[in-house]
Every structure is written in C-alpha cells, then in structure tokens.
C-alpha cells in the first residue's frame, strides 16, 4: 500500500464508506438533539433562558436534582465497592470460576432493564429474598419492605449497573503485568504498599471508565425508578417522562431533558479528559 502522508478526506475514497452511517446519525439523531437544545432556549420573544431560570428557582426542582445526583452517587459507590474487588476476583479466578462469573455478568446485560427492574420488584418485597436473607442473618429483627424506598432503589440499580463497573476495571486489570508486583516485592514493598503504589494507579483508567458509565446511567435511568420507587420520588428522568407522557407539559419536559443531556455530556467529556490525563502517565 502507499506510505504517503495522510490524505484529506477528499482524497481517501475509503472515507466515503463512513458517510452513510454518519449522515444517517446526523439527520436522525444529532439534528433532533440540537433542535431540542435550541428549542429549549427559544421562547416567544426569541433566545431566552427563562424556562431554566424558572425551573431552577423552584425548590421542588432542586430536590429533584438532588434526588437524582444523590441516588446516582450512592449507586456508583455501591457498584464500586462490590465491582472493584469483583474485577480482581475475575482476573484471578481459575478457568471454571471465570466462566461462571462472566456468565453472571453478561447474561443480565443481555436481558434488558424492564425484566431486571421487574425482577427487583419481586426481590425487594417485604416477603422477598433480600428481606428473608437479612432476617435470617440476624441483621434485621423483622421482615421489611425495601420496595418504594431509596435504599431499595439504590440496591436494585447497583445490581443492574454492576456489570458496567466490573468490565472496564477488569479489562484494565487483565493487562497489568504480574511481574510489576513481583518487582515491587523484590524492592522491599509490602503487599499493601504494592497494591496502593503499583496496582491501584494502574487500574485508574478502568476506575474512571466504570465510574463514568455507572454514574451516567444512574443519572439517566427511567424504568428502574419508575418500577422500584414510584411517583412520590422524582428524579430528573422520571420528571421528564411524566412531563411528556402524563402532564403533557412539553416545555417542562424539554427543559429537564436538556439539563439531563448537559449532565450526561459533561460526564462523558469529563471522564474522557480525565482518562487521557491519567493515560498519559500509565499503561
């Protein structure tokens, strides 16, 4: 093949192959999003941020935003506390155990939010499995209902999003050269020191990726809170959905939708920037 300097898109015919997909997405996906964004800034008198101002001046809405961020934060924390060790366990597991773990991670991913959210409805009931287990372990005096509570929501969402924390971290842990820990040991580092100074820094890109995924999905989740916590607890997503489907308040819906969009985009951009900064000094 040729070894000339990279030609511009006009001279490289292979580039044209990307055109159908790109044009399709631009028309069907990017344009509507832009349109939504622009419309939310346009009022009867032209460009305005009035809808946002009135949205943000209502304390109820601040509670909604607070709910959204708080739940997302908790879900991310729980996912991390379980997922980080799980990623290592997955990397260290023997062949059979690894397959079992991989199945348990990938299968739920392939099933879909509605099925899983519904499943958690069953699990979180007063007579459900979580309740029975906790009573059995002696942590609870009597069976309690976790459904329609924030704790139940966090638990259910963490369960559903856990694969998205495990897999990115696992993909990074896989790549860590075991000789590095050995080298650390021969230099006199205790196992704890080796973990905190060698392993942990090297897993940072995976952590950033996993946290970004889970936090972003938790902020955006709609079906899960709808089924697990009901209408009394509003997040930005459920508020948006209700605005459009129930209240027929397109103005409100657009405003909250754009806020959600901006949040999601900032998480993506922020994590990519962070990953690049870390990636510059590690694997």
């Amino acid at each position: 093949m040729t070894t000339k300097a990279a030609p511009s898109a006009w001279r490289d015919p292979v580039a044209l192959l990307a055109a159908p997909a790109v044009i399709y997405l631009l028309v069907v996906y990017a344009f509507p999003l832009l349109w939504l964004f622009m419309k939310s800034l346009t009022g009867p008198g032209g460009l305005t941020i009035q809808p946002y101002v009135s949205f943000l001046s209502d304390p109820f809405n601040w509670r909604v935003i607070g709910n959204t961020l708080r739940v997302a934060a908790w879900v991310t924390v729980v996912c991390f506390l379980i997922g980080y060790p799980a990623a290592f366990a997955l990397a260290r597991a023997g062949a059979v155990l690894q397959i079992v773990m991989l199945i348990s991670i990938i299968l739920p991913l392939s099933v879909g939010a509605v099925v899983k959210a519904f499943a958690w409805q069953i699990v979180l009931r007063r007579d459900g499995i979580v309740s029975q287990t906790l009573v059995g372990l002696g942590l609870w005096d009597e069976p309690q209902r976790l459904l329609f509570t924030e704790t139940g929501l966090v638990l259910g969402a963490a369960n559903i999003f856990l694969p998205f924390m495990i897999l990115p971290i696992y993909s990074v842990v896989k790549l860590i050269d075991p000789r590095l820990s050995e080298a650390g040991a021969t230099l006199g580092a205790t196992p704890l020191y080796r973990f905190s100074h060698v392993t942990l820094p090297l897993t940072l890109p995976g952590i950033v990726s996993g946290v970004a995924f889970v936090f972003s999905m938790s902020v955006s989740m709609f079906v899960i809170p709808s089924l697990l916590i009901g209408d009394r607890f509003q997040t930005l997503s459920t508020l948006t959905g209700r605005s459009f489907l129930l209240m027929r308040n397109e103005q409100l819906g657009s405003t909250t939708a754009v806020i959600l969009l901006v949040l999601a985009v900032s998480i993506v951009v922020g994590s990519t920037w962070l990953a690049r900064r870390i990636g510059g000094s590690s694997t």
């Binding site: 597991a93 519904f118 499943a119 196992p191 089924l227 819906g253 959600l260």
Partner: protein, 266 residues
Amino acid sequence: MTALERVSQYVVWFIAGFTVIFLMTPLVVTVAVSFGSSTVFTLPPPDWSLRWYERLAGMRGLLPALVVSLQIAAVSTAVAMVLGTLCAIALVRGRFPGRETISTFLVSPLMLPGLVIGIAMLQGFKAMGLRDVYASLLVAHVVITLPYVVRTVVGALSLFDFSLIDAARTLGCSYSAALTRVLVPSLAPAFLTSGMFAFLASMDNYPISMFFTDAWTKTLPIQMLQYVEERPDPTIAAISAGLVLLAIVALVIGDRLVGLRKLADF
C-alpha cells in the same frame, strides 16, 4: 508465600461467589416465580405450576407486541449491520482526519440518556414530517443498534492482521477473493455476535421506544410495563423468563462463535 496464596484463593472465591449470587438473584427469582402457582410473588412458591405460561397465549396484546419487537429488531439490526460495517471499514482502514471524533459520535447513543434521545427524536421526526409510528420506531432503533455494530466490528477489524491478505495474494488469490476467503471468515464470528447483541438491545429498549407507540404499535417492553401497571402477576415473570431464555441462547451462540472472554471486552 504459599500461605498468602492460599488465603487470597479463598478471598477470590468468596468475592466471586458473592458477586455471582448478587448478579444472578433477580433472574433466578423471576424464573422461579414464573413456575410458581401463587398469584402473589412469594418464594418458595407453595406449588409448582405452568399456569402462567399457559396464560401467555391468552394475553391480549402480547403476540402483536412480540411480533412488532421482533420485526423492528430484525430490520434495524440488518440496516445497522450494513451501515455500521461500511463505516467500521472506513474507520480502521481510512486515513482521514477526524476518525476518532466520528468514532465517538457513532458510539455516543450508548452514552447519552435514552429518554432524552427519545424526546428529541419524537419532536424532531414530527418536525421533519415523519408521523408514522412504526416507521419512526424503525428509524429510531437503527440509532440504538448502530453503536453496537460499529464498536464490535471496529474492534475485530483492528485486531485483524492485514498482512494475511497480502500473503493470500502472493499465493494466487485476487484481492476480492482474498477478502472473501481470509477476511470474511475471520471476521464472521465477531460480526454475527455484534448482530445478536444489537438485536437484543433493540428488543430490550424502553426509554426511546416509549415515545413511539400507539394503540396498534407497541414493542414488547412497553407491553410488559403496561401489564405491570394493570395487573401485576407472575405472567410477566413468564414473559421475562422467555427473554432470559433468549439471552441464554444468544450467550451460548456467542461463546461458540467468539468465546465468552471476547464478549466481555469492553
């Protein structure tokens, strides 16, 4: 040294066991409930029965919703595979600026809230004059499936050693024959697997699909949610169990084609 090794083995087993149980519990519970005889979701059920599965045939709207979901998934996946493969070739083999931007752009629907995308599409399609619900669903689902195809095919193409094509040509194949006999078989597993998971993603989708529905056109997840709101009973568990079965089949095929570890590549 071996003492530390033995302890860490136990720890690995403990964490792995907990994680597996934690992740599988919802699915296991659902399937168990679907085989129980009581209308309430108690476990263990008082008796085993297939009554909920028998009710499936009589559920109003279930079959049409299933058909709609399957059709939409099949067509949108097919379209996505064509568009996505062409695009993946351009991204891997092309030498033009902005490849990384385009790549991120193509995968972005996975990262943004489906709800917002759904709303934007709803209003955008109306503004562009597209009012037919079925067609709108179709157009929207291509956006859902495309990222899966692009990401997987780009990954597989990046790993493909193109010097194999050169080797085939020195052994007497024409360029297109080399592609057919070397590239296609090598890529086929990843290609098929990406199609399968794109299909599943379309079948499972709710946040975007919920904006494109009317009395005659509902996808399966929307229909299921309706059942949950109207009359929650283990029939829904039976439907869920069916979807779990579908996912298991996809997993087995995927493992045969590319292996579980490849499926886990993020």
